[in-house]
C-alpha cells in the first residue's frame, strides 16, 4: 500500500512501486484530467506539480513521490497562479481540442509561480516541453502574459 497526497487528499493505492504517477492518477484513481500523450517525457500532456515543481508524471514512479504533495489540473484552480492561468485561458479562448491543455496550464502555472513576469524567452524555456498539436501556441503565449499581468 502506497500513500500519496493529491490536491490535499491522501489516497492509499495498491500498485507496484515503479508504476508511473500518471497511470495511478488516471487508471487507479480515475482522475482523468491529467493526460497521456507520449509516455517518454516528450510532450508534457501529463504535467503535474510535485512539491510545487512541474513534473512529467509519466516518468515519476509513484514510489518516489513519498510525502511530497501532488497537485493536478483538478486542483490547480485553488492556487493563485493556477486560477489566474485558467481565467486567462478562458478569456483568450486558448483551447482547441483541449487535450494538451491540462499540461499547458500546469506548466504555465508553475512558470508564473517561479517567474511572475516572464519574458518571451522565459516562456519558450518553460513551455517548449509541452506540445500542442492543434497549434494554440500564439494564444498560450498571450495567455501566460495576460495571467502575469493580472498580478
Amino acid at each position: 500500500m502506497i500513500k500519496i497526497s493529491i490536491n490535499g487528499t491522501v489516497h492509499d493505492v495498491e500498485v507496484e512501486q515503479d508504476t508511473p504517477l500518471l497511470w495511478v492518477l488516471r487508471d487507479v484513481l480515475g482522475m482523468t484530467g491529467t493526460k497521456f500523450g507520449c509516455g517518454v517525457a516528450q510532450c508534457g500532456a501529463c504535467t503535474v506539480h510535485v512539491d510545487g515543481t512541474p513534473v512529467r508524471s509519466c516518468q515519476l514512479a509513484v514510489g518516489d513521490v513519498g510525502d511530497m504533495p501532488v497537485v493536478t489540473i483538478e486542483g490547480i484552480g485553488a492556487t493563485p497562479a493556477g486560477a489566474k492561468v485558467q481565467k486567462a485561458w478562458m478569456d483568450l479562448q486558448v483551447a482547441q481540442c483541449g487535450y494538451c491543455q491540462s499540461g499547458q496550464i500546469m506548466a504555465a502555472a508553475a512558470l508564473l509561480t517561479q517567474t511572475p513576469a516572464p519574458t518571451d524567452a522565459d516562456i519558450d524555456a518553460a513551455m517548449a516541453g509541452n506540445i500542442c498539436r492543434c497549434g494554440t501556441y500564439v494564444r498560450i503565449r498571450d495567455g501566460v502574459k495576460r495571467a502575469a499581468s493580472q498580478a
Binding site: E16, C38, Q93, C134, Y137
Partner: protein
C-alpha cells in the same frame, strides 16, 4: 421541407457528391429529415422535438443533438449558434448531446454519411441548421398564437420567450413545448436577414472552453466503465504482416497483467492499468511473419511513384493550347510530399464491452456510423446491437475518420470478460498507423510576353476517396487528389490537368488535415514563383496580373501583401539570409493568402519569423473561432514544412515518438497574424486551409533568401548552407 431521410450514398448522384465535396455551398439545398421525430415522439409530448436536432422540454431545457463532432475546431459552438440564432435562444441556455449513429438522420449533407471532416461542417449546415431553428421557432409561435387566439405574425420571439406585444402577453418556450409538438412544421420557414443577426458573425465564447481548462472535459481515452481493464497492443511492424509465434511467459508474470490475447495480426496484453499492460507488452517475445512488404523502403516507394508518373493520366481538364515537358521553350518542374503521421495528442484508443448479442463502445470518432458498421462486422452482430458513446476528440486531423482502432479493439474484446479499454502507445500510434500518402506533381508551362499561355499539371497520388466514399469515385478521378490543381485561381491560357492514381504498395493511407490541396497548393504556388522568375517579374506582380478575373483571390493577396510589408526591406542579423514568400489558394470554398518571412542561417538552419494570412471565408459564424482555426492550421502546416516525415526501411516505419517525429513547439513559433476580409458570400471551410498555405509560402521565402528552390518537403537544410550544393 424535405420529410424524407437524405438519400443513401449509393443513391446520391456522383455529380452531387462531386459538387458537394468541391464546392460545398452548392449542396446546401439538401433537406434535413425534419419532422420525422415529431411523430416518433408523440408518446412523450412534454418534449418538443420538431426534428432530429432540437429538443425543448416543458421545464424549458433546450438540448441540441450535435451531428458533427468536436475535435477542437469549435463546431459545437458554431452549430449551436446557427440554430440559436434562428430559434432566438440564448446560447447559454443550450445543452449539447452527441448524436447517435444514423446516416439517415445525421448524415453530413455533403457526404451523406455521418462524418465530420474536409472542412465541410459549416458549409454543409449553414442553411439546414438555420432552417431547423426557424421551423422550430415558427411552431412555438403558432402554439402561442393559438393559445392567445391572435395572429402568429403579431408575435415575436426573444431569448426563449414568445411575446404578443399588443396584449402584453408572453410565454417561455418550455410552457409551449407540449402544444408546439402538435403544430405542423412549416415547409419553408423564412430565415433572418443577415443584417439582423444577433449571434452569427459575432465572437462567442466556446461552449467547451471551461471544461477544457479544468480537467473535466472527457475524451474517448477517459472512458471508465465500471470494472474496465486496460489493454495495449502490438500490431506487426510491417504493414500486412502476421504473428508467427508469441512467448508470453514473462509477460504473464508481470504484476497486474490479467491476460494476453494473441490474434492473427496483433497481440494485446490486458491488465489492471496501462502500466501493467505496457510492462507486459515489453516482455513479450514475438516472432512475426512479415509478409510481402518486408522489403519496402522510402526509396523503393519513391521510385514506384516516379514510375507511375510516366503513365498517362486520366484527363481532368483539357482546354486550349497544350504544353509537354521537353518541348522547346517549356518550363517544367516536379514537386513531392512525404508520408506523414497525424499524431493527434490523444493516442488512438477504443473501449469495448462485448456481451452476447450486444456491444457497447466508448470512443472519440469523426465517423459514428462507420464505427457502428465496423464494430458490427468485427463482433458478428447487427448494427443496431452496437451502442456508441461518442466523446470529445483529442485531435482528429483525419486520423479519426478511420476505424482500424475499432476493429482491433472489438476483436480483442471478444476474448475479454467485461469492458476493456484498448490504448495505443505513442509508438504504436506512429508506427502502425494509417498515413498521409506521398504525392507528386509534375508541372509544365509556356510563357509569352511574361505570362503563361499554356499549363499542364499531372497529379500523382492515391485515391483515399475510392476506399472511404466509393460513390464519389468514378471515371478514375479522385476529386480530393486534384482539388487545388483543377481549379487553381490563375488565368494561364491552355489548361490541362491529369490524375495518375498511384497507391503506395503496402502502406495504408488516409486523409490528413489539408487533404489533396496540400500537394496541389505546394506545387502550383511553387511553380508560379518559378514562372515569375523566368518572366523576370516580382512574385506578387506576376500573380496579380493573372487574377484580374478573380477579385476575391486578388483581394486576399493584396491584403496579405499590405500587412506583410511586401517589397519593404527586411532586417537580417549577421550570418542570416532573409526573404519573404507568397502563397495564394482558393480551396475548401475559402480564399487565403499567406506571406511567410524566413531567416536562413549560413549553416542552412531555417527560422520562420512571421506568417501573415488574409482570409475571405465568406460569411463567418464565430470570427474568433475562424482566427483560432487558421492559427492552428498554420502551425500544423509549419510542422509539416519544418519536420514532417515518415520514412520506411525494411518495411518498418523508422520514427517512433515525438523526439524523431517532430512537431513545432512554442520556441519555434513565428509571429502569426490573421486578417479576416469581410464577406457576404456563402461560408467556406476553415479547418484545413491554414495548413495548406504554409509549405509553398515558406519554400518561396527560402528561395528569396537563398536562391535555392526546394521541390520536396520537409525542408532539407543541407541544401541551404551558404555556398553549399544547390
Amino acid at each position: 421541407m424535405d420529410m424524407q431521410p437524405s438519400p443513401s450514398p449509393s443513391g446520391a448522384s456522383r455529380r452531387d457528391l462531386l459538387r458537394g465535396l468541391a464546392y460545398g455551398g452548392l449542396l446546401l439545398a439538401v433537406g434535413l429529415p425534419l419532422g420525422r421525430l415529431a411523430v416518433a415522439r408523440e408518446d412523450a409530448p412534454t418534449v418538443f422535438a420538431p426534428d432530429a436536432f432540437i429538443r425543448i422540454a416543458s421545464d424549458g431545457a433546450a438540448t441540441l443533438i450535435m451531428p458533427q463532432v468536436e475535435m477542437g475546431q469549435g463546431i459545437y459552438t458554431a452549430m449551436t449558434m446557427l440554430i440559436a440564432e434562428e430559434l432566438d435562444l440564448p446560447l447559454a441556455a443550450v445543452r449539447l448531446e452527441a448524436a447517435p449513429p444514423s446516416d439517415a438522420l445525421y448524415g453530413n449533407p455533403i457526404f451523406k454519411v455521418q462524418a465530420t471532416g474536409g472542412s465541410t461542417s459549416v458549409r454543409a449546415y449553414w442553411t439546414p441548421m438555420r432552417k431547423a431553428g426557424a421551423a422550430a421557432r415558427a411552431m412555438l409561435v403558432q402554439a402561442a398564437a393559438k393559445r392567445w387566439q391572435v395572429d402568429p405574425a403579431a408575435c415575436e420571439t426573444q431569448d426563449g420567450i414568445v411575446r404578443h406585444a399588443a396584449s402584453g402577453r408572453s410565454l417561455p418556450y418550455g410552457e409551449l413545448a407540449a402544444a408546439a409538438s402538435h403544430m405542423t412544421p412549416p415547409s419553408d420557414p423564412p430565415l433572418k436577414d443577415p443584417k439582423t443577426f444577433r449571434l452569427l458573425g459575432k465572437t462567442q465564447t466556446r461552449l467547451d472552453i471551461e471544461a477544457k481548462g479544468n480537467g473535466t472535459a472527457k475524451y474517448g481515452i477517459d472512458a471508465l466503465p465500471p470494472g474496465v481493464k486496460v489493454a495495449t497492443l502490438s500490431s506487426c511492424p510491417v504493414p500486412g504482416g502476421k504473428i508467427r509465434r508469441v512467448d508470453d511467459t514473462q509477460a504473464r508474470a508481470v504484476a497486474g497483467v490479467r491476460q494476453v490475447v494473441v490474434l492473427e495480426d496483433l497481440v494485446a496484453v490486458v491488465g489492471d492499468h496501462m502500466w501493467a499492460a505496457k510492462k507486459g507488452l515489453d516482455k513479450l517475445v514475438i516472432e512475426w511473419d512479415e509478409g510481402p512488404n518486408a522489403t519496402l523502403s522510402t526509396e523503393s516507394l519513391r521510385a514506384a511513384m516516379h514510375e507511375a508518373a510516366k503513365r498517362p493520366g486520366v484527363p481532368v481538364k483539357s482546354e486550349g493550347a497544350d504544353v509537354r515537358p521537353g518541348d522547346a521553350g517549356v518550363i517544367s518542374a516536379s514537386y513531392e510530399l512525404p508520408f506523414l503521421a497525424h499524431a493527434p495528442m490523444e493516442p488512438m484508443n477504443c473501449t469495448v464491452h462485448l456481451r452476447p448479442g450486444a456491444c457497447e463502445i466508448w470512443i472519440g470518432t469523426q465517423v459514428m456510423t462507420m464505427v457502428q458498421a465496423k464494430a458490427a462486422q468485427a463482433a458478428g452482430l447487427k448494427p443496431d446491437q452496437i451502442t456508441i458513446h461518442n466523446h470529445l476528440l483529442g485531435g482528429g486531423f483525419g486520423r479519426r475518420l478511420e476505424v482500424d482502432m475499432v476493429d482491433k479493439a472489438v476483436r480483442i474484446a471478444a476474448h475479454v470478460d467485461g469492458p476493456v479499454k484498448v490504448v495505443w502507445t505513442r509508438e504504436e500510434d506512429i508506427q502502425k498507423a494509417m498515413y498521409r500518402s506521398t504525392y507528386g506533381s509534375w508541372l509544365s508551362a509556356r510563357l509569352e510576353n511574361g505570362k503563361p499561355v499554356a499549363w499542364r499539371h499531372t497529379v500523382v497520388g492515391p485515391s483515399v476517396i475510392a476506399r472511404w466514399l466509393p460513390p464519389a469515385f468514378s471515371g478514375g478521378v479522385d476529386i480530393d487528389a486534384i482539388d487545388g490543381a483543377a481549379d487553381q485561381p490563375y488565368a494561364v491560357g491552355g489548361f490541362h490537368v491529369d490524375y495518375v492514381r498511384h497507391e503506395p504498395q503496402g502502406v495504408p493511407t488516409c486523409f490528413w488535415r489539408g487533404v489533396g490541396p496540400n500537394n496541389n497548393i505546394f506545387s502550383v504556388e511553387s511553380f508560379i514563383d518559378r514562372l515569375a522568375r523566368e518572366a523576370k517579374n516580382d512574385p506578387l506582380d506576376f500573380r496579380r496580373a493573372l487574377l484580374t478575373a478573380n477579385p476575391r483571390a486578388l483581394q486576399v493577396l493584396n491584403t496579405a501583401a499590405a500587412h506583410a510589408g511586401w517589397g519593404t526591406p527586411l532586417a537580417a542579423k549577421a550570418g542570416e539570409r532573409v526573404g519573404r514568400g507568397i502563397c495564394l489558394q482558393t480551396v475548401f470554398g475559402s480564399f487565403l493568402s499567406t506571406i511567410a518571412e524566413v531567416a536562413v542561417g549560413d549553416d542552412g538552419t531555417v527560422r520562420v519569423r512571421r506568417l501573415v494570412t488574409a482570409v475571405d471565408c465568406g460569411m463567418v459564424v464565430n470570427p474568433d473561432g475562424v482566427i483560432s482555426q487558421i492559427q492552428g492550421g498554420l502551425v500544423f502546416g509549419l510542422s509539416a514544412a519544418l519536420h514532417g516525415r515518415i520514412t520506411f526501411e525494411k518495411g518498418r516505419v523508422q520514427q517512433s515518438n515525438f523526439h524523431d517525429y517532430r512537431v513545432v513547439r512554442i520556441d519555434e513559433m513565428p509571429a502569426v497574424e490573421v486578417h479576416l476580409v469581410p464577406s457576404t458570400e456563402a461560408p467556406g471551410g476553415i479547418g484545413e486551409p491554414g495548413t495548406t498555405t504554409v509549405q509553398p509560402a515558406v519554400a518561396n521565402a527560402i528561395y528569396a533568401a537563398t536562391g535555392v528552390q526546394l521541390t520536396r518537403m520537409p525542408i532539407d537544410q543541407t541544401l541551404l548552407a551558404k555556398g553549399g550544393r544547390t
